[in-house]
Symmetry: C2
Subunit: 460 residues, 2 copies
């Protein structure tokens, strides 16, 4: 499928779900410390889905399966400073657009159209001016905008072959990035270089950048895996530390990947690290084995929880029957987040729509400790791409919480747990395509087994 | 000087220039494709100058040399997900603040205070709410805000020892990044790897990232140096190409560096490339030799123009007397931008203030082709850090422009110029501190001479 035929198919599908014409804005770069020094531009994901190209300051109009592209040609001054760029007509041809017009003509199309708010406020203000109405955050859309949102959720939930090819490309580069991170750990250790987290992050992101891709999200590369959103990279790699690296590439047209691996800085897991790694791996493998159309993602999450609980019972850390422990959320002491999320043009796909993509109609977040952070609660369907990412963490804020200590006093063998002090955080995350009869791990080229990881990192 | 004593000195200086109390906001991270997936946070430079630490969602109040820090403590949920962070009191101590209060107390300090608008619109809206007035773009400040702006320009124009130490650190990392880019070119060439621009960029930025720093601006790494703002990295390195790399690191607390080098992909300049490189180098060296307190930066620019013109006359490309050629802006056919800019917390320091920092009071941009893009028109003073970055480019949009062809028909030997077709763009850029009796090149560890560059890249 070419880009043009893919986009044509997507907009015909949209027309099946929606009568109203649609206008989607790509957005514009936002200033970093002064207006001319911007963050790298990222087009709106909804725009990218129907326009395919990461154009800045562009708008598309979709009606009855027809596409009109609105953008201005580069001025002579822009051409002077930014070099030659394709004309509007050339871009429209690449997209298979039916028409291409300057932005000034937008106003003639601004009748009763549906839209979704972009992320940057300068463009959001333009949206409101042109449509002459207020446009709330996308997740609070109403009337025709809500209908558009629902149609988009339907479409973007199942990936076409063009999207899958892009996600596979991103996944392939992410796999190489992780292998490179492991190799950098080994090399640093062999050379006695005294590396820190920033060195490993840089080695990994270099791979992504060298392929002309960007990171789909701010990387986590840390020896403090128990800090779940760790965007600092300042700790030295200790001799017996585990490195948790959550790093994923995004293609030029916005398609994401999302991989986490956890490896020992010295190349070899300690016996306690290996034991807990294998518990997390068992939870991961159980989910992969169970994932197929019709299965509820929530059930995969609970399967991961039960597998983790069973493993922790085997290790003597949790006390009781795994099912009972999960019913009491005891697993969440060590696995407080959900087992994964949708993946596509966003690393948490369509999260700008709140839970309207992640949660099936009529469902909402649980207030249970062990379920509230679940980002996806829908039956799986062929064409979906999800992540599977169980973990084990010793988060001081959870384990030292007096309420938790009281509540779980008899379910945790705290003395036994203390013997696993060399494990702060472990996560294993892969990107998984739901197929007709099961699933395919798109990131399978990067091994998950402890022994294979050790081989990659390199035994001493 | 510690950070605390440095900041105390800065706010005492501010108090000398300004009676009004001041409130400065740090800003907050802006969304990339959905609210939880943000661009890396960058504090406002004005905040950083007086607060020293890259805090998010923080405000400082400055009055009579006293500093009050406003920020909220991390919530238990934030601590859970983002790990432990210093308390407000600890941060205030580090900054030498006199008091530390929650954000909710801001309203009690919001009387007649001066401020400057931050870059992100969410925080800008908070500024307006708290101060209960509209706040225009910083460069359009009025009344007490304009007085603050003018005081800040005075202060930030001359760097203290703490700032200089930071700029030197950034410069040192940038130097290593450029050397690494050259080494990557050599290695790729030796291994026959078929590199493209993205590979070289990645090799360079990896160095910056590995030191825990960020890029001060979007890197330019290109074999099409004639495209002045080239943010694409997709071209393969051709055998006889020149790579132009404009890459600079920024320290954790925001201090910038800015270096450009141009080197041959094959390790050795052709005779035509070497000849033009040496013309640009002569212009660079002339500026460095002339830079000292009291000299007008505009005169340095014109010196670079005359030196370039003389070199191009010597090569037979321009025809006439160098001074006459510059008077007619003929140099600008090949050197259309200014010779540099201020450098500090911003790569174009204080450019959010428009030309109010770059241009001395009463001066404004020239409409001359050869002067209009000059970003700095002030007498040099000790403590200023500037860039010196002459260049030579064959920009099709300029050279093929009919007006230019007519106007400069008799001043350019177009046939001779055609012999230099293997030079698309050359720039040599260093960061220069103005000292009491001259200047110091802060980036001198990276050689500029063609032969030294060839040694670094590696002859075949």
């Amino acid at each position: 499928m070419t880009l043009a035929s893919t986009l044509k198919h997507r907009r015909r599908q949209l027309a099946k779900h929606l009568d109203t014409p649609v206008m989607l804005w790509s957005g514009q770069a936002t200033p970093r410390n002064f207006p001319a020094n911007t963050h790298p531009f990222r087009s709106s994901s909804h725009f990218l889905y129907f326009a395919g190209l990461p154009l800045e300051n562009a708008v598309i109009h979709l009606a009855d399966g027809r596409l009109t592209l609105f953008m201005d040609e580069a001025t002579p001054a822009q051409a002077l400073w930014h070099g030659p760029s394709p004309t509007r007509t050339e871009l429209a041809h690449k997209m298979g657009a039916d028409k291409a017009l300057p932005l000034d003509d937008l106003k003639h199309f601004a009748g009763e159209v549906a839209t979704l708010k972009v992320q940057d406020s300068a463009t959001a203000a333009q949206q409101e001016t042109i449509l002459n109405r207020s446009i709330p955050m996308a997740k609070q859309s109403q009337e025709q905008d809500l209908a558009l949102l629902q149609a988009i959720v339907q479409l973007r939930m199942g990936h076409d072959s063009y999207a899958l090819a892009e996600i596979r490309r991103a996944a392939g580069v992410s796999v190489t990035a992780h292998k490179t991170g492991m190799a950098a750990t080994l090399l640093g250790e062999r050379l006695g270089e005294g590396l820190n987290e920033a060195h490993i992050r840089a080695a990994m992101e270099q791979v992504i950048m060298a392929q002309g891709m960007t990171c789909a999200y701010n990387s986590i590369v840390t020896v403090h895996g128990e800090v779940l959103h760790n965007n600092h990279y300042c700790h030295p790699l200790g001799e017996n530390d585990l490195i948790l690296a959550d790093v994923g590439a995004e293609t030029e047209t916005g398609w994401a990947s999302d991989i986490t691996r956890t490896w020992p800085t010295g190349g070899q897991f300690s016996s306690t690290q290996r034991a807990l790694y294998n518990v997390v791996l068992a939870a991961h493998d159980a989910c992969i084995a169970a994932a197929k159309p019709g299965v509820e993602y929530r059930e995969l999450h609970l399967l991961a929880c039960r597998t983790l609980a069973a493993g922790l019972v085997d290790l003597g850390i949790l006390l009781g029957a795994p099912d009972d422990l999960v019913d009491q959320d005891a697993h969440a002491l060590f696995f407080p987040h959900g087992v994964g999320h949708l993946l596509g043009l966003d690393v948490h796909d369509m999260e700008d729509l709140g839970d309207l993509a992640g949660y099936a109609p009529g469902r909402s977040r649980s207030d249970r400790f062990g379920l509230g952070f679940l980002r996806l609660d829908r039956p799986l369907q062929a064409g979906m791409v999800i992540t599977i990412e169980p973990g084990f963490y010793q988060v001081p804020g959870i384990l030292a919480d007096r309420g938790n200590c009281d509540r779980y006093a008899t379910l945790v063998n705290w003395d036994r747990l203390a013997q696993f002090a060399d494990v702060r955080g472990i996560r294993i995350e892969n990107d998984v395509l739901i197929t007709e009869d099961g699933c395919e791990v798109l990131t399978a080229d990067l091994p998950t087994a402890a022994t294979a990881i050790e081989q990659l990192v390199g035994n001493r």
